[in-house]
């Protein structure tokens, strides 16, 4: 009745080359639709920011759209969009990416644009000041002017981790953002945006030999620079409960988040995959353990979710990371009742294990979601690029559904034993302002 045993491996060929300047290149051709995706991943993210420069990786991502040696301001967008393409960029904990999805005939134009800003982005005082203002508006939209805006992604790491790399606000304080200078941006670019610190991943409707020629033409001349060592962001596992309370004057109802340290996503991938499926088993859909217990049976919660990785993608992070369980509950329900029920459900998995039938259902659902992401040329290309940068193997992205399907009930039980109530970070959000 289930898909276990079905072949869930994505068989896209992956070709790899590297240029003399150190740029790693991954090509993932698939000519079924006339769309191509061009993605560039730089090995620098929020965790690389120095003290006093919180939010700088994200601010610099914005600066990368301000033009480059041969591209005036606004023209990056115009050249992509007037070709019928879309573009964006995003800053993650361990990397920053830039991408375009375009009709296949615009491939070379996208390569030109990415190579031009890899060589020389337009880092000017005017552009920097403008984008500091834009980033402050982004933070107001997503954090300051809405209820639950920082919850829990900016607040939970502060108690879940110890090091500055893992605890600081990756969106940035206004003080740090406003005091950023052109010299900071130039240094940051010089240090982290070297071609040898980047992966170029191109997927979709492309001819491998011709694309390789175009890549060499446009990226070959970008000057090589020293590549910084990958920083160590792992931490010793916590041995105690850490608990804190935040107040949200815009929120109409309380919430609580629990975070547990999980195995190293890269160094211990097999064990980590058990944790990824545990999160699905706990929280994905009406059949999940916590949805049934908290929402339907005990009626303690309005909504619940569990996920691995700060932004919910378990495969785009290095160590250290968390499994987070987040619960929105009515004010009339004491938070300790919620916590007790969560620990009890995880304890049941840890003590009794899970049946092969239940796990097979969870695997079928998780596999379908991975395949769905891979159905879009851009989604697939981003997954290949992230796997190459984080795991050193683009092919892993195509194998993940099959790898998850091979996880055993014992691995999920072991993962649940790792979610010890005695080592959780617990963050309560109290609604202090009422509806407004």
């Amino acid at each position: 009745m289930t898909a276990v045993g079905a072949d869930l491996t994505l068989r896209h060929p992956v070709e790899r080359l590297s240029l003399d300047n150190g740029l790693r290149v991954v090509l993932a051709p698939d000519r079924s639709v006339p769309v191509v995706a061009v993605t560039v991943f730089y090995d620098v993210g929020m965790r690389n920011e120095p003290e006093g420069r919180t939010g700088f990786a994200h601010l610099f991502e914005h600066v990368m759209f301000q033009g480059s040696a041969h591209v005036p301001k606004m023209e990056h967008a115009r050249l992509v969009q007037a070709a019928g393409g879309t573009f964006n960029g995003s800053t993650h904990q361990d990397y920053t990416n830039y991408y375009e999805a375009l009709p296949a005939e615009a491939l070379e134009r996208a390569l030109f644009l990415e190579a031009d800003r890899m060589a020389a982005p337009a880092i000017t005082e005017e552009n920097l000041r403008n984008q500091i203002d834009v980033v402050k508006e982004e933070i107001r939209v997503n954090v300051l002017n809405r209820p639950y805006g920082a919850f829990p992604w900016l607040q939970l790491p502060q108690i879940a981790f110890e090091s500055f790399a893992n605890t600081h606000d990756g969106y940035g304080s206004f003080v740090d953002l406003e005091s950023s200078t052109v010299a900071d941006a130039t240094d940051f670019f010089s240090r982290y945006y070297a071609p040898g610190n980047a992966v170029l991943c191109i997927g979709g409707d492309l001819d491998v030999a011709q694309t390789e020629r175009l890549v060499r033409r446009w990226f070959g001349p970008v000057e090589a620079r020293d590549v910084p060592p990958t920083p160590h962001t792992g931490e010793p596992s916590p041995t105690t409960v850490r608990r804190d309370v935040v107040e949200d004057r815009l929120a109409p109802a309380p919430a609580v988040a629990l975070g547990w340290r999980v195995p190293d996503p890269v160094g211990d991938l097999d064990t980590y995959l058990g944790t990824v499926l545990l999160a699905e088993l706990l929280s994905e859909g009406d059949a999940s353990r916590l949805e049934r217990r908290l929402v339907h049976d005990d009626r303690l919660a309005v909504a619940q979710s569990s996920y691995v990785g700060l932004f919910g993608d378990p495969f785009d992070v290095r160590d250290a990371t968390l499994l987070t369980t987040q619960v929105h509950h009515p004010a009339a329900v004491p938070v300790d009742d919620v916590l007790a029920a969560v620990h009890d459900e995880i304890g049941r998995v840890a003590g009794e294990g899970v049946t092969a039938e239940e796990l097979a259902r969870v695997q079928a659902r998780a596999g379908a979601q991975l395949l769905r992401q891979a159905d879009s040329v851009l989604g697939r290309t981003l997954a290949f690029g992230a796997a190459e940068l984080v795991h050193g193997r683009a092919e892993l992205a195509g194998e993940l559904a099959a790898r998850l399907a091979a996880v055993t009930p014992d691995q999920v039980q072991a993962a649940a034993r790792g979610l010890d109530p005695g080592t959780a970070a617990v963050l309560e959000l109290r609604a202090t302002g009422g509806a407004r």
């Binding site: 009745m1 969009q81 019928g84 403008n130 939209v141 059949a287 049934r292 009422g434």
Partner: protein
């Protein structure tokens, strides 16, 4: 470094476009009146399912209660059937990679899921069970209704929701489209018996459309639907929304949200519907104004002045009304200047021609993004389901693309004059009234109201 100048000789030219694959769409109407649309597509071994059931309020007077009931029904329909409880339903789907979600809006109920291709027949079986034998167990319905009321309270604390609700109330008056979110007190009165009756009377195959896109065979999939959903019958046919009024724009409304660090500017007015020959020109005018990053609004209030992170405009279609909408979230201290610039860019659109280059760029972007958004199983399924809601088929996509290709600068200006002129738009600003109203009054009359979300849920 000095500011670069664009040297067009340096920019790699675009190659020859490759033809877009044209989807082969098989459409059948079952004896029950259900339309079945099946599209085989290469790609991942998945199928995307969308069942659209028209579900508009029958009358304006009954709209508030209908909206409240629909908001509970969309969760409660999955709480159990004659044969299975909620967990049993979810487990039967999960084993095939599926998770059914049901969403209500002013026009329809939409049942959606992804599924592994091998699971089509069993997933259709579960869908049939939900459609024909949803039990609405009383105690579970009561719990669901309480959760819905809590979720509405949370939604109404979001400034974007407050702004959208205020604009809809201004634009639609007594029409059902005015109520974006149901009133919590009406939600609190929804009972199981009312839901069973609503389901019996309104969850009907006649007028509904089931779309399946993905790794499947058209004939076999259509047979599977006929076999699984043969028992889903019912008296009557679907009800659409009554025609929506076009109300005069009136004064700018400031919805007070004391202490807000940002103001949410929203402007909206009528736009041509999907079959109106004016639509292609209005879409392109909207793109040039604020429809994408390369637009005038983004260049002005984001990239030049840093007032806003994501200013935007869009044409939005409901079954009985289409809209041109403008949105910008701006810092409290620049609310007046940001509103002025937005207003001025709309005025420029209405009074001065766009350039050929602006029109060509917008056209290529719209055509390209239509191709991208229908290049996945999920994107194509959602697009076809939305078109079905307007009584249109996949052919509309090709017709619309041809029409977009022919729009001229003159037509764009004519369209902008009629639909983008600031005087044609209703305006709402959600923000700290004490700090923003004086500046806005410099531009025209302003009415200040208390936040709709201020009453305790």
């Amino acid at each position: 470094m000095s500011a670069p100048v664009l040297d067009l000789d340096l920019i790699p030219p675009l190659g020859e476009p490759r033809p877009q694959p044209v989807p082969e769409v098989a459409t059948t109407t079952l004896p029950s009146g259900l339309d079945v649309v099946v599209v085989p597509r290469p790609g991942v071994p998945l199928v995307e399912l969308r069942l659209r059931v028209p579900f508009a309020a029958g009358t304006p007077r009954g709209a508030a209660q209908h909206t409240a009931r629909a908001s509970v029904l969309s969760g409660a329909v999955l709480l159990g059937t004659a044969q299975h409880d909620a967990t049993g339903i979810a487990q039967a789907l999960q084993g095939h990679g599926a998770e059914l979600t049901v969403a209500a809006d002013p026009d329809r109920l939409l049942f959606s899921t992804t599924l592994l291709a091998e699971g089509l027949a069993p997933v259709l079986g579960v869908l049939a069970e939900v459609l024909t034998a949803a039990a609405y167990p009383a105690d579970r319905v009561e719990a669901e209704r309480d959760r819905v009321a809590e979720r509405i309270a949370i939604a109404r604390s979001q400034p974007g929701v407050i702004a959208r609700s205020a604009l809809a109330a201004r634009r639609y008056g007594a029409h059902p489209y005015a109520a974006q979110l149901p009133a919590p007190e009406l939600v609190g009165k929804v009972g199981a018996a009312a839901l069973r009756r609503l389901h019996r009377e309104r969850v009907l195959p006649a007028g509904s459309t089931l779309v399946l896109v993905g790794d499947l065979d058209a004939a076999a999939a259509t047979d599977a639907v006929a076999a699984a959903l043969g028992e889903w019958t019912g008296e009557g046919t679907a009800v659409g929304a009554p025609p929506a009024p076009t109300l005069a724009p009136g004064h700018l409304e400031v919805v007070d949200r004391p202490g807000a660090v940002q103001s949410n500017i929203r402007l909206g007015g009528p736009a041509p519907g999907r079959t109106d020959p004016d639509l292609p020109a209005v879409r392109l005018a909207g793109m040039v104004f604020g429809g994408y990053f390369s637009s005038r609004l983004v260049e002005n209030i984001r990239e030049r002045r840093g007032y806003s992170y994501s200013p935007r405009s869009a044409v939005d279609h409901l079954a009985a009304a289409s809209s041109f909408l403008v949105e910008a979230d701006v810092a409290t201290e620049v609310t007046g200047p940001a509103f002025l610039e937005t207003w001025a860019e709309l005025g420029r659109m209405a009074l001065a021609p766009v350039t050929e280059a602006e029109l060509d760029a917008a056209r290529r972007y719209v055509l390209g993004s239509m191709a991208l958004s229908t290049a996945t199983h999920a994107g194509l399924a959602s697009t076809l389901s939305a078109l079905a809601g307007s009584g249109l088929s996949a052919e509309w996509l090709a017709e619309h693309q041809r029409a977009l290709a022919e729009v001229t600068v003159d037509q764009v200006q004519e369209a902008a004059r009629r639909y983008l002129a600031p005087a044609a738009l209703t305006g709402v600003v959600v923000g700290d009234a004490e700090r923003v109203t004086d500046a806005l009054r410099a531009l025209g009359p302003v009415d200040v109201t208390a936040s709709a979300a201020a009453d305790p849920a």
